[in-house]
Amino acid sequence: MNGFLALLRRDLRLGLRQGVDALVVVLFFLVAGALFPFAVGPAPDLLARLAGGVALTMAALAALLSLDRLYQPDLDDGSLDQILLSPLPLELVALAKAAAHWLLTGLPLMIAAPLLALMLRLPAEGQMPLLLSLALSTPILSLLGGLGAALTLGARRSGVLLTFLVLPLYIPVLILGAAGLEASLSGTEGTPPWLILAGLDVAALALTPWATAAALREANG
């Protein structure tokens, strides 16, 4: 367990030292989202309808943006060998990495989301549902993303490969997140999509570390 916390702390420290990386993710999220009113016009009704979906899509793309920094630097400087050569089970290594990724991208995105929602004229009563949708979907983005990063590790053009591999997996997350938000905004009960999303969180938490660990073993062989 000490090893798990040590790895998590190191990754957070590296991420924050390289403050630009964490900032780029949030800036991308805000700036790309803010482009929508220019493209679709400033009509408040239209924007309000789009806001939730735009925020969730931008969160998925922003999470993707930082995935190639998850394992690649450790492979490049030889740290990955040393990380693999510890008594810490690889599944926990994968979990620590995904947790660090969520803390450095998912969490800042949730903090920035109200600002983006405001720019996109999401009604005030939509703010909490949006945060809930993001809180339920961003952990899956990090867990599935970690798996994709491990699978494409060391491949040529791994960035492109990673995009094609991971984005399709993000689709159910987008559908359910947006459905929950939409339902709660239109006055109907938003709970069922969120419950399914929460179920996916648990499944991703339980399954992706095993798959990621297997991919890391291969990548390093």
């Binding site: 000490n2 090893g3 040590a6 790895l7 190191r10 420290r13 590296l14 030292r17 390289q18 490049d76 400087d77 030889g78 740290s79 060998d81 040393q82 990380i83 693999l84 050569l85 510890s86 008594p87 810490l88 089970p89 390093n220 062989g221």
Partner: protein, 206 residues
């Protein structure tokens, strides 16, 4: 019976076999010098020994039991030093080494003595990016001085080291052997290591 032995090992990288029919047997306190031209599979053999690669055929045993049976126990008993020093540019020298100590569950008070031992105590606060190649290698070697692993696997450990550094390395190796550890290293030059066993790997062309 030898403590650490390999029997008829073969290793495949992609299509090509890089090792075939390699055997060795080492007792506590032994050192093994891997010799051979570039591409003869020295690094691959060290990675096999570490469990980072799986052998195509053959078996590695520790104390009579195949290492594949309990890989976590094997990982816990060894230190591997590769071509790269696993130094993070953004972290200070102390932070770099403290992380590995913490990660491997070794008390943090061994970090400063380990740095001093390798003659880089004065660099403790410097960021990794400012280190020269030789200093980075010393920081890599300082990981060996943490704890007391039973098996050291060193891939060209003297690369980038100056004369003093090589002497420090030799002293580390001799300490490890004195407490019953096994050291396997590859090197193109003769390192000042006492009476190592030698294993010459032939260049492989198949």
């Amino acid at each position: 019976m030898a403590l650490f032995e390999g029997e008829d090992l073969a290793c495949r990288r992609g299509e090509a076999l890089v090792l075939e029919g390699v055997s060795f047997a080492l007792d506590p306190g032994d050192a093994l010098w891997l010799e051979g031209p570039n591409g003869s599979g020295k690094s691959s053999l060290l990675r096999l020994m570490a469990g980072l690669l799986r052998p195509e055929s053959g078996v590695l045993r520790w104390d009579g039991a195949a290492i594949a049976v309990d890989r976590e126990a094997h990982r816990a008993r060894l230190r591997h030093l590769g071509h790269l020093d696993a130094v993070k540019a953004q972290l200070s020298v102390t932070e770099n080494l403290s992380f590995w100590a913490e990660y491997w569950g070794i008390a943090g008070d061994v970090v400063a003595p380990a740095l001093a031992r390798l003659g880089i105590g004065h660099l403790a606060g410097s960021p990794g990016r400012q280190l020269s190649a030789g200093q980075r290698r010393r920081l890599g070697l300082a990981r060996l001085a943490l704890g007391s692993a039973a098996l050291w696997l060193l891939d060209e450990p003297a690369a980038a080291l100056d004369t003093d550094g090589t002497a420090l390395l030799a002293a580390l190796i001799s300490d490890c052997r004195a407490r019953g550890g096994i050291v396997v290293y590859s090197s193109h030059e003769t390192l000042p290591v006492e009476r190592p066993h030698r294993l010459r790997l032939a260049p492989f062309t198949s």
